[in-house]
């Protein structure tokens, strides 16, 4: 479990980093927190010729709010996000979710940009980004691109990020007064990859949803912004509406079987999560439909 030999370079400016990525393209891998990349290197699942360590680009570590947007730099560590007062106020969903991201030692090193660029379909942050309607900001020598989160994730470990591009930040619209959020995942142990998870953001209008964004993860090759939400918006939710939404959700899911769960179990748990989410957000325990003997 020793990595293949690679060349290592640690740029001190973003421009230098972008120049290196332009120069080495597919031959380079960006090293951020290293919490996914280093194991992959040590297992020799990945053997890049160049490792571009962006750890020195301290400008990318900031978390700030301006003009209705919460901007989280790519190098913000998970622990920074977890402890940020701005995140707690303007995107509390992220803080709720972050405690499920691995363990403290990993959260001390792992970064937001690294997590999103890795695009693990079972990861919490990508689902939060689609639920929060975030914009992913990427940059190359040619300039900056701003991508909707739901367009950014395109497959297992696959994103719209080009080899010469660097993910520099995410921008999240700040939560308004009527915003509510829900996060829950079914994982075998604290910090494990979820079997199924849901990050949801909603706007309430009285006892109904004015808006509901459901970001499911570990249910397909990328996080899913479930269109099933449309069955639940604009009027008081009934058990029949919820059942309809659950049925619609199941049709949207394309989960994989793995050692933890067969397809049917993932679909079942996703339905459970949807009911739990709706019941929790509306304060309607009657919708949870717990099984009893």
């Amino acid at each position: 479990m020793k990595a293949s030999a690679f060349s290592y370079i640690r740029p001190t400016t973003i421009d230098d980093a972008l120049a290196l990525l332009a120069q080495y393209g597919e031959q380079a891998k960006v090293l951020s927190g290293g919490q996914s990349l280093m194991p992959a290197l040590n297992l020799r699942l990945s053997a890049p010729e160049w490792l571009v360590d962006i750890g020195g680009l301290s400008d990318l570590r900031t978390i700030a709010v301006s003009r209705g947007l919460l901007r989280i730099g790519a190098l913000a560590r998970h622990v920074d996000v977890l402890k940020s007062a701005d995140v707690a106020e303007h995107a509390p969903l992220l803080a709720d979710a972050m405690v499920h991201v691995a363990h403290p030692a990993i959260r001390n090193k792992g970064t937001m940009g690294g997590n999103l660029a890795h695009a693990d379909p079972a990861s919490e942050m990508p689902a939060c980004m689609i639920a929060l309607d975030a914009v992913i900001v990427v940059r190359s020598r040619a300039g900056e691109r701003r991508l909707q989160a739901r367009d950014f994730f395109i497959g297992i470990y696959e994103t719209a990020l080009a080899a010469e591009e660097l993910l520099v930040a995410v921008e999240i619209p700040v939560a308004n007064q009527n915003s509510v959020r829900f996060f829950h995942e079914y994982a075998r142990r604290n910090g494990d990859y979820a079997i199924v998870g849901l990050a949801a953001s909603a706007t309430l209008d009285g006892g109904s949803f004015a808006d509901l964004r459901l970001g499911f993860f570990a249910v397909g090759d990328r996080p899913l912004l479930a269109t099933a939400a449309r069955h639940l918006i604009g009027r008081p939710v009934t058990a029949a509406m919820l059942a309809e939404a659950q049925a619609a959700l199941e049709a949207e899911l394309d989960p994989q079987e793995d050692q933890q769960a067969p397809v049917a179990m993932r679909k079942h748990l996703a339905r459970q999560l949807l009911a739990l989410c709706v019941a929790t957000l509306l304060g309607r325990a009657d919708l949870e439909a717990r099984r009893s003997a």
């Binding site: 479990m1 030999a5 604290n190 050692q259 049917a264 179990m265 099984r291």
Partner: protein, 797 residues
């Protein structure tokens, strides 16, 4: 005699002023380890040391047609690439059988495979280079042509006529079979009000030591001697086996065991890659280090369990259990492990099922079959979690069949506390157990009745909680019956040497070993207490075949019971010698003197007479002042092995309180209790933490740990993300109570506590889950108990 005087005072050698026995004192090695000054094999570097990486088979079963190492040999830093055929000139193959396991058979196993690989992960070549990374680079350049053979991966069909025989010379895939028929089981079942049966499945899992297996072998051609630095539980066994297969005298091998990062039985065996490392050092005439990485730990550290067992229990309406019957099957991999064999776990299952109960009717069969997976062998609690789960789940199912409370059925059937000595239907001899006292203690610490009321109340709210109980017996302190009588040169006795130094300090050399469980502490506590010296003055040396007495080491919960008694007896002998010296110096009678707090004192009155350092000064530097003809002996050695009972048995009972979410199948552990009777308790904290650690490993097996092979014999989850170990976040609080029934076989009375936690944890969790699911009419008898299993049992998926 001094002892006689003490007995008239009603005190044993342990029950003295300032005794450390029964007290929580800090472990002597704690500061050193906490300050990062431990010395593990991975930390060690020797001049000219090189690293070996093993190229391992990607196939579960294949012929090796050709090995091309030309490109690898040309890689930077490569010292040698050695195949199995080349290494066979240096080290001989072995066969993992023992004569007392009648009929056990296995095939010759080589340090590195020669013509054929029999499991995914078996080594096919050794690449030796100046660093591990360079050796791994070179390994990528190796080219091996394999011809894949049909792998045998399903133990249920391993004995079918159409299944290939892994070792044709053996005739079939049956490694071992044992049948036992005690009492009259057919009649008992025919006469029973109810006979309940179930099929139990126990997944394969492994030990996952924090520090992987590690060996540094140093052949010194100048003195024709091999020094092996290895994290092992049994240094003298390693010495014997390595010498035997390298064609050396035992005296030509020294085994040194420094700090070890966890063992749990994983490091009590001798692995092919370790043998290869010894041989490579001899071949290359330089130090060679092998440190298993995490992936190869999963695919080569011994696995355990992997049993399928049909069980039946008979019960009458009054709660009388009329008999047990089991038909057990286990797959052990392609070879029986060396030298302890892979039939012991199955044998233990037969020995232990029904062990706590009075019924004389018991029939058992176990069959041990070969398969193309990694080898299985002894891991913490060998056979116990299987036997305990089968027994205790059957008892609960029987209780349910007749509508009796699980506690009540146990009370009516557990062997009475005053019925000892007695024997189990399988012939296990019990000296003194305390099942009923343990249950009493358990009920009081868990408040059983209140918990049952809470459970009933919560059920009304749609919350499903369960209570599970598991009584158990645990084999400890094995005498020669375990291995010696079967021909293995694995010592069942241990020895301790104690020496009073010139400054009044005590050096103590023991043949038991330390892997974190507290061997060093318990030895110092016993020696300090018996001698009357401070623990801070006692220095304990372990893990060095050149510098300790000959002995078995630390495994099978034997360190405290056997090594501890040897420490006690050696300290007693030294104490007598010290008092003889003191009497000579003071012109007193030895029987009138005592040693308290590092000084010789008057037995009556406690007046200080001479300090130990002064006594030592006279002995070592002014012996001319001692009476003519008097020779002081300030060093004493004693050995110990139990003789009356082949094993000590401990007993206890565990309970689990948990919640099952019927919507998701997830289990939340809420609380766990253990009452254990390990005899004399030397260090309460160490005993409790041993039990907690054992429980956690048992809970790991119950809920999480599983080596998952596919039908082609590929281990599919050999990493820490997919192989789930128990983590603190999911673990419940574990409350521990004790009942103390010392063994009379030793003056110390300690019986061992290393495996009790593991023995019963899975059983009581399984019972609690089934209790929680009872309203749904669902029963699960397979571990690990995953959400998938629960949802399947509930008919959800």
């Amino acid at each position: 005699m001094n002892d006689g005087v003490e007995q008239t005072r009603g005190l044993s050698v342990l029950d003295r002023p300032n005794s450390y026995i029964g007290k929580t004192v800090p472990r002597p090695n704690l500061d050193r380890l906490m300050q990062g000054r431990g010395l593990y094999v991975s930390d060690m570097t020797l001049p000219r040391m090189v690293h070996v990486v093993f190229l391992r088979s990607p196939h579960a079963h294949a012929k090796i047609l050709n090995i091309d190492s030309v490109a690898a040999k040309a890689m930077p830093g490569v010292i040698a690439v050695v195949t199995g055929r080349e290494l066979a000139d240096v080290i001989t193959p072995w066969i993992g059988v023992l004569t007392h396991l009648k009929g056990l058979k296995s095939a010759p196993q080589h340090a590195i495979a020669i013509d054929r690989v029999c499991w995914q992960g078996e080594a096919v070549a050794a690449i030796v280079a100046t660093s591990r990374a360079l050796a791994e680079d070179a390994a990528e350049q190796m080219s091996v042509d394999y011809e894949e053979l049909t792998p045998v991966t399903n133990m249920r069909t391993a004995l079918d006529a159409e299944t290939p025989v892994i070792h044709p010379d053996l005739g079939d895939n049956l490694a071992f079979e044992r049948n036992l028929d005690a009492g009259a089981i057919d009649k008992a079942f025919a006469d029973s009000d109810e006979v309940v049966e179930a099929e139990f499945v126990f997944g394969r899992h492994t030990g996952v030591t924090l520090e992987p297996r590690a060996v540094l072998a140093d052949w010194n051609a100048g003195e024709a001697r091999l020094t092996i630095y290895q994290g092992t539980q049994a240094p003298h066994m390693v010495q014997n086996i390595s010498a035997k297969h390298l064609g050396l005298e035992e005296a030509q091998v020294r085994v040194v065991c420094k700090d070890v990062g966890g063992s749990f039985g994983i490091k009590v065996h001798i692995y092919a890659d370790e043998m290869a490392t010894y041989a490579l050092s001899k071949l290359l005439r330089r130090p060679v280090k092998f440190v298993a990485d995490r992936v190869e730990s999963f695919s080569t550290d011994i696995h355990a369990r992997d049993h399928v067992c049909k069980g039946r229990i008979g019960v009458n309406k009054d709660g009388t259990i009329t008999g047990f019957e089991i038909d057990d099957l286990t797959g052990i991999g392609p070879y029986s492990m060396y030298p302890r064999t892979s039939a012991i776990e199955a044998n233990q299952v037969v020995n232990l099922v029904g062990g706590p109960y009075t019924t004389p009717n018991y029939r058992a069969r176990t069959r041990v079959v070969f398969q193309n997976k990694n080898v299985t062998c002894q891991y913490r609690g060998v056979g116990h979690p299987i036997a305990c789960s089968i027994t205790e789940v059957l008892v609960d199912l029987a209780a349910r069949a007749i509508g009796m409370d699980p506690i009540e059925i146990r009370r009516r059937n557990l062997v009475a506390d005053d019925a000892y000595p007695c024997a189990s239907p399988s012939g296990m001899k019990f000296e003194a157990l305390s099942h009923h006292a343990s249950i009493d203690r358990l009920l009081s610490i868990m408040d059983y009745d209140a918990l049952r009321a809470e459970q009933a109340e919560l059920r009304k709210q749609g919350i499903y909680r369960g209570i599970g109980i598991a009584s158990f017996v645990e084999v400890t302190n094995p005498a020669a019956a375990f291995y010696g009588v079967g021909g293995a040169r694995i010592s069942s006795q241990d020895g301790v040497t104690v020496r009073l130094d010139a400054t009044g300090s005590v050096v103590c050399q023991t043949s038991i070993t330390e892997q974190g469980q507290g061997s060093e502490s318990l030895t110092a506590q016993i020696v300090g207490s018996v001698l009357g010296v401070s623990m801070s003055r006692v220095r304990v040396i372990l893990g060095d075949t050149d510098n300790t007495p000959y002995g078995g080491g630390t495994w099978a919960s034997r360190g405290a019971g056997i090594g501890g008694e040897a420490a006690l007896q050696s300290a007693k002998a030294l104490r007598k010698n010290i008092l003889d010296v003191a009497a000579a110096i003071l012109q007193a009678k030895p029987g009138d003197l005592d040693i308290v707090e590092n000084s010789v004192v008057d037995l009556v009155g406690g007046q200080q007479r001479i300090e130990m350092h002064e006594l030592a000064r006279i002995v070592y530097f002014r012996p001319d002042t001692l009476p003519p003809g008097f020779q002081a002996e300030l060093m004493a050695t004693r050995h110990f092995v139990p003789r009356e009972y082949p094993f000590a048995f401990t007993n206890g009972v565990q309970a689990s309180w948990l919640e099952v979410d019927p919507n998701t199948g997830f289990i939340t552990l809420l609380k766990h209790w253990v009452v254990e009777d390990c005899g004399t308790i030397i260090n309460p904290q160490l005993v409790d933490e041993q039990i907690r650690g054992g429980v956690v490993q048992g809970l790991g097996a119950a809920l999480y740990e599983h080596c998952i092979y596919d039908e082609r014999g590929q281990l599919t989850n050999a990493n820490m993300a997919d192989y789930l170990v128990p983590m603190s976040g999911e673990m419940p609080d574990i409350s521990i109570g004790h009942v103390v029934s010392p063994t009379m076989e030793s003056e110390l009375g300690a019986k061992g506590a290393g495996e009790a936690g593991t023995a019963g944890a899975a059983a009581c969790v399984a019972n609690a889950v089934n209790d929680a699911l009872a309203p749904f009419g669902a029963t699960v008898t397979e571990i690990p108990l995953t959400p998938r299993l629960i949802l399947t049992a509930l008919g959800t998926i």
